[in-house]
């Protein structure tokens, strides 16, 4: 009776756990705004009463070479600034990323008081007169504003040092400075910086009537319109482009210079290509008015004034159809001639750039509506902007809606928490099987929990798989494109293998170790995503460098080599499982099932090492073929290549040691655990050397965690031999007696 009751209670508990898991994997919670089913639903319909930030967050813009929803820009920049995807207001409650960005773009004085910057280095805090214990580690722009100059000075001093010679203070101050620049650039993306014509060069009385005047002008685009009137007058009367015509040329030069410089202070590209424009370049506001400067601004000093003016005039005077070709020809053939290049930019600004983009005006309406809290105008204008972009941008924006929901679903956050739970449940099942007395229904109870862990693994795996598939869909790439996604994929591969193993061998070991690697891998991935030296834009879906831009090799070489890492780690973690279960048995002096368990573990480690050897060998060889195709050598002794070779050799050593009968149960486990060290070295360590073709970034921050990991693995290998060591001591001391 009692037995039955207990196992019933457990059964109910495990079903509850599975239901919780179902809910957690598919439904929204405090930290994740979208549910799994949002992907299949349309966009939520907003009301006229409240500002619809969800619709606003779906506006496509271009940042980091990729068209993405504003939502991603908001989340990614906050990730860089605060390592979180939210800001904090003065009451200490979270502000969603998109609300923060709307404030920053349209009502910056509100955003300036939100806590946006993470500063946790004591020396940097000292610089701004704060203490970690008293003031916390999150600060608003207002907190930092008085110290901006000092921060800039220190950061520039730190920047002059060689990378290897920078200490933590230098790194942190540089990061903070980059964060401030990013913040200010976001602020001025839609709003140009203030006018400041130098009185030595410019005639202020001629310029100021053209400047935006908040009292007489409805919007800033009135100023843009006045500039357009000026250029269309010159376009129609090319003879006015001449020296001495200060009335037109003075303001023209000032505005072209000013708008071109404005490009440097804009963080993303809000304007899609113009209708029917081939090539499809997105533009910043300054760019849409005057194009971009062809060379560094310093090169302007080399312009020959007379030839410059005559070139501009000749270009402006040429017929509309020919001008684009003439400009193109200058840009291709006169690369060393600043006079001609700047003349081409002027001609483009005067004649080719026409009108003021309606989206600029729309964004200004958005600003005034947002500030006034006019929900109806705001929502309508958002709708207008999106329709205009939809018409102009073409296929580039097909994944925007998906990406917005994907951002809110946070598949990897869900999965990491899920894996942690699975690990705890699997551990609980072992404790039950050890501490419940035999015949107390223990096998049944433990088994119930194991089944529960197995089912939960399957559920969490859905979220994890969906996360990877979503990235592939958004990027149009194979799953592994950078270090971040390799960590996602390694953990995924290990969990899949464990799930399959657990299907046949319901011991809980595979569940526990799989979830442990899953959790660890996702934590590593998260830390990679917030490392601003590796991921300066905060976007983990960055563009691929030219040499990597080959989906075929990414899909074959990179994926196989990553599965190789994954399986080697799995074998190593199974080795760790052996060491701890062996120690546990020795400590509790329990003899039961020891031999069976050992045999199972050994065959699992052995089988998975076979997989590892296969994937790492095939992956390395494919890498060699890629290198032969791209660089003309199959093997170049590059640091990462050598790392991959070390894994191959180590796996071969493990297998041959087993075949030779040199390594038995403990030996095999110890070898497999050392495989973790080898893999960690070739995965992360080689990147830290900063040499060779595969060094994607100097990762000094990862050095301490890597050393800690290697140290822990060596310690576990030591533990494996501890009982043998003690028994040796014991024997020796007992002999004379």
């Amino acid at each position: 009776m009692n037995k039955k009751k207990k196992s019933n209670r457990l059964r109910i508990l495990s079903w509850l756990l599975v239901i919780c898991g179902l809910y957690f994997v598919f439904f929204p919670n405090k930290y994740t705004s979208s549910s799994f089913f949002d992907f299949f639903k349309g966009e939520p319909v907003g009301t006229d009463e409240s500002i619809n930030l969800d619709a606003f967050s779906r506006i496509p813009v271009l940042r980091g070479g990729r068209v993405k929803p504003i939502d991603s820009v908001a989340r990614n920049t906050l990730l860089v600034l605060r390592n979180k995807r939210t800001a904090i207001d003065s009451n200490g409650s979270d502000v969603p990323a998109v609300k923060w960005l709307a404030d920053l773009l349209f009502a910056p004085e509100r955003a300036d008081s939100l806590k946006t910057f993470l500063i946790d280095h004591d020396q940097v805090l000292g610089l701004i007169g704060k203490k970690l214990a008293k003031d916390g580690k999150y600060f608003s722009y207002l907190d930092l504003e008085p110290f901006v100059e000092e921060i800039e000075k220190s950061a520039q001093e730190a920047g002059r040092l060689e990378r290897e010679n920078r200490n933590y203070f230098h790194q942190n101050i540089i990061e903070l400075y980059h964060g401030l620049v990013l913040y200010r650039n976001l602020k001025t993306t839609l709003t140009p910086p203030p006018h400041a014509p130098s009185s030595a060069v410019h005639d202020h009385s001629r310029l100021s009537p053209l400047f935006y005047n908040s009292e007489t002008d409805g919007a800033r685009s009135d100023e843009y319109q006045r500039f357009r009137n000026l250029t269309s007058d010159l376009a129609n009367n090319p003879e006015k482009v001449r020296m001495g015509n200060n009335e037109a040329m003075g303001p023209l030069m000032y505005f072209i210079d000013y708008y071109a410089r404005y490009n440097l202070y804009a963080e993303f590209f809000p304007l899609p290509p113009e209708m029917g424009e081939s090539g499809g370049k997105w533009r910043k506001i300054g760019e849409s008015l005057v194009g971009t400067e062809p060379l560094d601004s310093k090169e302007k000093a080399k312009i020959e004034p007379a030839r410059f003016i005559s070139t501009v005039q000749a270009l402006v005077a040429s017929p509309d159809e020919e001008l684009p070709n003439q400009i193109k020809s200058i840009r291709q053939n006169l690369k060393m001639d600043p006079t001609a290049l700047f003349a081409a930019q002027y001609a483009e600004a005067i004649k080719l750039r026409k009108g003021v983009d309606p989206i600029i005006e729309n964004y200004e309406q958005l600003e005034s509506a947002y500030r006034a809290g006019d929900a109806q105008t705001f929502n309508e204008t958002v709708q207008n902007i999106r329709e205009e972009i939809n018409q102009r941008a073409g296929a580039e924006i097909s994944t925007i809606a998906f990406e917005k929901t994907y951002n809110g679903y946070e598949p990897f956050y869900r999965s990491s928490i899920g894996y942690l739970w699975i690990f705890l449940i699997a551990c609980a099942s072992w404790l039950i099987s050890v501490y419940l007395k035999p015949g107390d229904g223990q096998s049944g109870a433990a088994r119930t929990l194991l089944n529960c862990a197995y089912l939960l693994t399957g559920l969490v795996l859905i979220a994890h798989t969906f996360g990877l598939a979503g990235r592939m869909y958004i990027e149009g790439r194979p799953p592994v494109t950078n270090l971040y996604s390799s960590a996602l994929f390694i953990s995924w591969g290990a969990v899949v293998l464990c799930f399959l193993t657990e299907k046949f061998l319901r011991l809980g070991i595979a569940s526990a170790m799989g979830s442990l690697i899953g959790f660890g891998g996702l934590v590593v991935a998260h830390n990679l995503s917030i490392d601003s030296s590796l991921n300066p834009s905060g976007d983990t879906m960055e563009m691929m460098r030219a040499v990597l831009d080959s989906n075929f090799w990414l899909a074959t070489h990179v994926v196989t080599i990553t599965i190789g890492y994954s399986t080697t780690f799995l074998a190593g973690f199974l080795g760790i499982a052996y060491v701890f279960s062996m120690l546990f048995r020795k400590l509790t002096r329990s003899k039961k099932k020891g031999k069976d368990l050992d045999r199972t573990l050994v065959s699992m480690i052995f089988g998975i090492t076979c997989f590892s050897l296969f994937f790492s060998l095939v992956g390395t060889v494919l890498g060699g073929i890629w290198a032969d195709q791209s660089w003309g050598r199959f093997w170049g002794w590059d640091a990462k290549e050598n790392g991959a070779l070390l894994i191959v050799i180590w796996n071969a050593i493990i297998l041959h040691a087993r075949w030779a009968g040199i390594a038995k149960v403990r030996g095999l486990s110890a070898l497999a655990i050392f495989g973790n060290v080898v893999t960690a070295w070739s995965y992360f360590g080689t990147n830290m050397l900063g040499v060779g073709l595969h060094s994607y970034g100097f990762m000094d921050k990862a050095f301490v965690p890597l050393m800690a990991f290697i140290g822990s693995q060596v310690a576990i290998i030591g533990l494996a031999y501890l009982p043998a060591f003690f028994s040796l001591l014991f024997k020796k001391s007992s002999k004379p007696a």
Partner: protein, 428 residues
């Protein structure tokens, strides 16, 4: 059925009898030892790349019988251990021994049966990979070819290695070039050629040096002490030899001091330095040194020029650069394309256009041209040119290993499925 394994065993035992002396070499423990040493070698050589560069580490550790490693000073306890030389078995030693060990295992240990055939293929493939890598390291040549837009080139330049070239430019139409390759310069001594009106005595040569211009009054010491002709004398340059820098950014200024003789009579002593980026750079550094690209020597009414330059290889065809493209993702500094548009002018007046870009090199007559560097504003492109006669070997090796792995895996799979279905039947 029982006859089959018997047969193979008997053939193996026969082999073991005939090659009994090989059995100790085929020991699996030897394999494990060699593999462990390989791990140490690869790890140490990777670390050393930070200090001496990839080429340096390759020469010291992989292309040698043994290398000497000094414990890095930056490591824990480095200040005490960094002076102890630690010998590390080199690539040639370990590679050779592994090949021997594998061959011995093939003869005395491997069963040549269907069941184990996969293993034979895998190890045969690995032998080929090892042999192929040894062959590649011995035979592969790497050079570069820099072309300006609109121009055409018909020679390659070595990344490492210089030559002392004498160029007869008396005729405006043709140039005659006589070059002394680095091997002869290193050897030193007196060299003569029918095509040269003088004999060349190499007095000093080094792969890298530092140099500075002394004030007119002071006298240069070191290798250029005896120089009495040419640019080095007129610019009063002093040279201090330096070891060759193997790192990837290494700039090696090779130098040579030579005396020209007509019969037994000395015409004078010259010296020359080569600029790693091309001798046309000398004029930019110092107008006085511009002539290092061409030090004039008049002889019997003909004008010769002497220069020390990267070793060249002339090709029977030429490559003309039409244009380059270097594109970036919008709003980033991440490049997504480096591309050179070229015309390949071959013998017999044949020509074809080609695009050379990332992952897509140009292959012609055993040489492969890869997009290597590019300068958009100065409009030139640099190809890395590789000749590797053994390039096919790793491909064949890979096919062998793949067949082997597939064979072995399918064998296991079939056995596993048979066992499972057998178990199911038993359970039923």
């Amino acid at each position: 059925m029982p006859e089959k394994p018997k047969k193979s065993i008997s053939s193996l035992s026969e082999r073991r009898k005939r090659f009994a002396w090989l059995i100790p070499f085929a020991n699996l423990r030897i394999t494990l030892t060699l593999l462990s040493f390989s791990m140490i070698l690869i790890f140490v050589a990777t670390l050393e790349q930070v200090r001496i560069g990839i080429r340096g580490a390759q020469a010291e550790f992989f292309e040698s019988m043994y290398g000497i490693w000094y414990y890095p000073t930056q490591f824990w306890g480095g200040e005490y251990f960094d002076s102890i030389p630690i010998p590390i078995p080199g690539g040639y030693l370990l590679g050779g021994l592994l090949i021997l060990n594998l061959l011995a295992a093939f003869i005395t240990r491997f069963q040549w049966t269907g069941k184990k055939m996969g293993i034979q293929f895998i190890h045969l493939g690995i032998i080929m990979l090892l042999v192929g890598q040894l062959a590649t390291q011995a035979m592969q040549e790497e050079s570069r070819m820099q072309i300006n837009k609109g121009e055409s080139k018909n020679y390659l330049e070595r990344f490492h290695g210089v030559e002392l070239a004498f160029i007869d430019v008396t005729d405006a139409q043709t140039e005659r070039v006589v070059a002394l390759p680095e091997a002869l310069l290193e050897q030193g001594g007196l060299h003569y050629s029918e095509d040269l009106p003088f004999k060349v005595r190499v007095l000093d040569f080094g792969p890298n040096c530092e140099f500075n211009s002394l004030p007119p009054a002071s006298k240069a010491k070191g290798p250029t002490e005896g120089v009495n002709r040419g640019v080095i004398q007129s610019a009063n340059l002093e040279i201090r030899p330096k070891p060759e820098d193997f790192s990837s950014e290494g700039m090696n200024f090779g130098y040579v001091v030579f005396e020209l003789l007509e019969g037994a009579e000395s015409l004078g002593t010259w010296a020359a330095i080569s600029h790693p980026a091309g001798n046309h750079w000398w004029a930019q550094i110092n107008p006085k040194m511009g002539d290092l690209a061409f030090q004039p020597i008049r002889m019997n009414g003909r004008l010769w020029g002497a220069t020390l330059r990267p070793e060249r290889e002339y090709l029977p065809y030429s490559i003309e650069l039409l244009g380059i493209a270097n594109e970036f993702y919008q709003g980033t500094d991440i490049p997504f394309n480096f591309e050179s548009e070229i015309v390949l002018n071959m013998e017999k007046n044949e020509s074809r256009r080609a695009l050379v870009y990332m992952n897509t090199p140009l292959r012609h007559e055993g040489k492969t041209f890869y997009q290597y560097q590019m300068n958009k504003s100065a409009d030139y492109t640099v190809f890395q040119v590789v000749r590797n006669p053994s390039w096919l070997v790793p491909y064949i090796a890979c096919i062998l290993v793949s067949i082997g792995l597939l064979w072995q895996f399918s064998f296991h799979l079939v056995r596993f499925l048979n066992k499972n279905s057998g178990a199911n039947r038993a359970a039923a």
